[in-house]
Symmetry: C3
Subunit: 138 residues, 3 copies
Amino acid sequence: MIKRYTIRTKKEVELIDITREVAGAIAEAKVEQGIASVFTRHTTTAVFINEMESGLLRDYLTLLEKLAPPRAGYAHDRIDSNAHAHLRSMLLGSSVTIPVLEGKPVLGTWQRIIFAELDGPRERSFLVSVVRSREWSR
Amino acid sequence: MIKRYTIRTKKEVELIDITREVAGAIAEAKVEQGIASVFTRHTTTAVFINEMESGLLRDYLTLLEKLAPPRAGYAHDRIDSNAHAHLRSMLLGSSVTIPVLEGKPVLGTWQRIIFAELDGPRERSFLVSVVRSREWSR
Amino acid sequence: MIKRYTIRTKKEVELIDITREVAGAIAEAKVEQGIASVFTRHTTTAVFINEMESGLLRDYLTLLEKLAPPRAGYAHDRIDSNAHAHLRSMLLGSSVTIPVLEGKPVLGTWQRIIFAELDGPRERSFLVSVVRSREWSR
């Protein structure tokens, strides 16, 4: 099953917890065991998994700012001044996979699925795809 | 279905658009809904998804050069002088997953699947695996 | 099929070869063709694929130390002094996908599946999920 979610981001750079949406799609797929893939459809966003503690949220953004600072003489900025957002997206990645067990994502205590807006605010969308394992393995 | 593609890279560092090959494998798999995984079989290459604009292509490589410069006193370089290529591969990753709908990869307008040669030129190969979701979800 | 493995790490930062465990789970799943996902359940660990040469192992850690040095004034460190481990996990990622063929992971000659302990030593766990492709594709 594939489910598409739309979100309206509010800031230029923003980290949004999408764990509930992903868990909802997995529950709807009624898959006993399998894999879920979360995929963003944009080249200036990313998806990753980590803790959502407020200090850490600032630390993630500070590191991205350090590794790929905005408007640092990029070739792409002559066309569109968002090369840094593409570069940050390249470092973080466009997709994650998560194991599914008994209709739920198997996440550790502190793991949250995070959608990274890197060139907002905009309307964005991401997809959750769920595939099941063989029945005999239940 | 798993399909293997071979490519001959032409430069030491090169970013190659493999979207057409991946879409071809997905079409051949005749999967209505599911997940495709694109996987490189080498430790000095990577796969990622982003825009292929010519300025950006230079920016991606400049960032990799900055984060993992060549021959910067690496321990591995005493054996083989390509530690920087392994490090860049570690940062970018060996695989991506992409949702499949109606026999096609669901990609955003600017998204292209990019094979990164980081220690070429060489003959390289990558694999596309396609798995389907449950029928009842169509 | 989903299989959970527990490992006891021995150092603060440690790279552990889990290829044998992953191959074991794939063999047990008896999947002719498909995809395996390897997923860590912790926010201060990561999973990636690359070569395990001893010099390279030091180079990987040196790069992580450079990109996200410990205790560099992070906001999260006021709560728990391991922000650098979360940041390194964000850069490396929590999951990888690997093609499966004839009950085996399709890995290149030098590719090993690596579990990265970034804030140990601790007891850790990771999951291997295997899904198969359609039969007609065999």
